[in-house]
Symmetry: C2
Subunit: 164 residues, 2 copies
C-alpha cells in the first residue's frame, strides 16, 4: 500500500518518528520554477565559494564586467542590464569607488547622471574574477554536457525575455 501510515510515504523508525531521508516533494519535483530556483542557488553558491578565494563577493562580478564592457555607463543603465533595482546599486557603487576599483564622474551635459569606468585596479580584480568565472563555467559545462549547452542557454534566455 502507498502512504497508508499517514506520513506521505516518508521512512519512519519504529517509534513512528521520521528519520530525515526521503522527503516527498510532491508536485515541486516536476515543476520548472522550483528546480530553476534550486539549480540557480546551487550554481550561485558554487561561484560564491570560488570568488571568495580572491576576497570578492560574487555580486561584484557582473557589475564589474558590465562596466568594463560599457565604459561610461550610467547607474540606471547598469542596474537595468544587471536586472537589479537602481537603488540596489547605490551601496555597491559606493563600495567599488571607495575601494578604488571604479571611477565615477558627473556628466557635463546632464548633471544628474554619473559615468562609471573601471580603474586599473578594477581591471585587475575583474581579470581575477573572470578566471574564477571561467573555472565555474567549466564545472557547469561538465554537468550540462556539451551537447545540450547551447540549447539550455537559449531556453534560459527565452524565459528571461518572455516573462516580462
Amino acid at each position: 500500500m502507498h502512504g497508508a501510515n499517514g506520513t506521505g510515504g516518508r521512512r519512519l523508525d519504529r517509534n513512528g518518528e521520521a528519520i530525515g531521508l526521503s522527503i516527498n516533494f510532491g508536485p515541486l519535483a516536476h515543476w520548472v520554477g522550483f528546480n530553476l530556483r534550486i539549480a540557480q542557488e546551487a550554481a550561485f553558491q558554487a561561484f560564491s565559494h570560488l570568488s571568495q578565494e580572491i576576497g570578492e563577493s560574487p555580486g561584484r562580478f557582473a557589475t564589474l564586467t558590465l562596466i568594463a564592457r560599457n565604459p561610461g555607463i550610467s547607474q540606471t543603465e547598469l542596474s537595468l542590464a544587471n536586472g537589479r533595482d537602481k537603488s540596489s546599486l547605490t551601496p555597491v557603487v559606493e563600495d567599488l569607488v571607495r575601494r578604488g576599483l571604479v571611477q565615477r564622474k558627473r556628466m557635463n551635459s546632464d548633471r544628474r547622471t554619473y559615468r562609471l569606468n573601471l580603474t586599473p585596479a578594477g581591471k585587475k580584480i575583474l581579470t581575477m574574477l573572470t578566471r574564477c568565472a571561467r573555472r565555474h563555467e567549466r564545472n557547469l559545462d561538465r554537468v550540462i554536457g556539451a551537447r545540450d549547452r547551447k540549447r539550455f542557454i537559449q531556453i534560459l534566455k527565452r524565459i528571461a525575455a518572455e516573462l516580462d
Copy 2:
C-alpha cells in the same frame, strides 16, 4: 573596425552620450551562470505577481507544499528540503502559525523538535497557491516548449545535485 570609439560598441547619440539601448554583455551573454540567474529571477518575479493576487508571498508556497506532503516534518528537515538555512525558517513558521495556517507541536519523544502540520485553513491557502503555480507552470511550458521540457528539468536537477 570593432569598438574603435572606445565605448565597447554601444550606440551613441551625436554628443557621444549613451542612449541606453544595446548594452554589451561581454562574456556574460554566453555563460550559464548569468543566464541561469536572470531566468530564475524573471520566473520568480512572474510567480510573485501571480501569488500576490491571492495575498501570499511566493516563498510560502514551497514551505506549505512540503509540510502538506510530509505531515509532521520538523523544521530542520523542512529547511533542508527547501534549501534554506534553518534559521531562515523561524520567522516564516512563526508567521504561518500566527495566521493559523500551520500547527506546531512539540514531540514527546524528543522535546527539542517540533512537528509541523497544515491546518484546514492552511490547506485551503495551499490549494489556491497551487492553482497559481499551475498557471505559472503553463506559462513556463509555453516558453520552454513541450519537446525540451523534460530534458531541461533534468539538467536543472543535475546542476543542483552535482554542485555540492
